[in-house]
């Protein structure tokens, strides 16, 4: 083994951990950003900035173990949102160091979980018209519950209940075979 091999092995192991950390945390960071920022580009930038800061903290040893990862990251989110975006130069410097984690095809912020389209199509077709409309307005048109309620002539509380029940149904439904399988 050469003099740098063990360091390279350790570095490789650490990189895997960094990717894993980013993959795990990215959806949570995206949710945090979506609640506060309207533009999709701003959300993407915020997610990337937070994950870059997390990677930097892992490298610098400021996050010692997985236990500290969640609290540290929500802390970064809150600080970053309160203090405003970092300067472009600061972000570019971090991207220069850790940009390999965000290369095309290996972006840790997307694709952690996906469902088979055919299963989701089958599940969606089993929803009531109201349930389908509520989910479409929420997920595709980004309407608030108040806007959905006004658009469909429903009470806002009713929209909240439909939304909750429909997501629970879809979440469970996509785990099962399509409804025709039992009848073949």
């Amino acid at each position: 083994m050469g003099p740098f091999d063990s360091e390279e092995v350790a570095l490789a192991a650490r990189r895997i951990d960094e990717r894993e950390a980013c993959a795990r945390l990215a959806p949570a960071v995206r949710l945090y950003a979506m609640r506060r920022l309207r533009r999709a580009g701003d959300v993407d930038d915020f997610v990337q900035e937070v994950l870059l800061a997390v990677v930097e903290a892992i490298r610098d040893g400021r996050i010692g173990d997985a236990e500290g990862l969640g609290p540290y990251t929500i802390g970064i989110c809150r600080n970053m949102f309160r203090d405003g975006a970092r300067t472009r130069a600061r972000r570019d410097a971090l991207l220069h160091r850790f940009g390999f984690l965000f290369e095309s095809g290996t972006d840790p912020t997307t694709g952690v979980v996906s469902f088979e389209r055919v299963r989701l199509d089958d599940c969606v077709s089993r929803l009531t018209t109201n349930a389908r409309d509520v989910i479409k307005r929420a997920f595709v048109h980004d309407e608030s519950n108040e806007e959905i309620a006004a658009g469909l002539g429903l009470a806002e509380g009713n929209v909240r209940v439909i939304r909750h029940r429909t997501l629970k149904f879809l979440r469970e439904c996509v785990e099962h075979p399509v409804s025709w399988e039992a009848h073949r």
Partner: protein, 186 residues
């Protein structure tokens, strides 16, 4: 470790601004994510999946004629079955590798105010699509589904029953099978 439950439904409540204690939920959300919990990723998978179905035109099972034309012009590979009013079966040559299957069904829609579509495997009701959209002036509805889902109905004796829901009860407008459909392998 937080005891606030992190579920897809709770995440949606957080995202839509209706969760009771967002700060406590955020602590639980990030704690769960750091430990490898995938609920937030599943939430986005559902959200992105719904968006994808809407983009492809298959989110709503029954579409307007204008939407059917848009699907055919979308660049996705479509295949089509036609069911003229007096035929017992939908007919046509369908491409089994198509992305989307479109079915045009002629129906006597005069005096119909609410239309349900029932899907049967032989005589067994598999699912009901309630209160579908239609324009009675067109005398037909268009159904759109993912090609792979259509293939999943092979060998099930698939039948579609179209039911007018009226104050006096149900009135079956039409029931069709697909015995006359010819499959074309790519």
């Amino acid at each position: 470790m937080s005891r606030v439950p992190v579920t897809v439904e709770a995440i949606d409540a957080y995202a839509s601004g209706t969760i009771e204690d967002p700060d406590a939920f955020e602590d639980a959300l990030f704690d769960a994510a750091a430990r490898g919990d995938t609920q937030a990723a599943e939430y986005f998978a559902l959200r992105d999946g719904v968006r994808e179905l809407v983009r492809r035109g298959t989110y709503d099972v029954v579409v307007t004629s204008a939407e059917a034309v848009a699907i055919e012009r979308s660049g996705l590979r479509t295949t089509r079955i036609d069911a003229p009013l007096h035929a017992d079966s939908g007919g046509g040559e369908v491409d089994t590798s198509a992305d989307i299957l479109l079915i045009r069904v002629e129906l006597p829609l005069d005096d119909v105010s609410r239309l349900d579509v029932e899907m049967l495997a032989g005589t067994t009701l598999v699912k009901t699509i309630d209160d579908v959209r239609f324009d009675p002036r067109e005398g037909a509805i268009y159904m759109a589904c993912e090609g792979q889902l259509a293939l999943a109905t092979r060998g099930t004796g698939l039948r579609h029953r179209f039911v007018s829901i009226e104050s006096a009860g149900r009135r079956v407008l039409r029931e069709i099978g697909f015995d006359d459909v010819v499959e074309r392998e790519p």
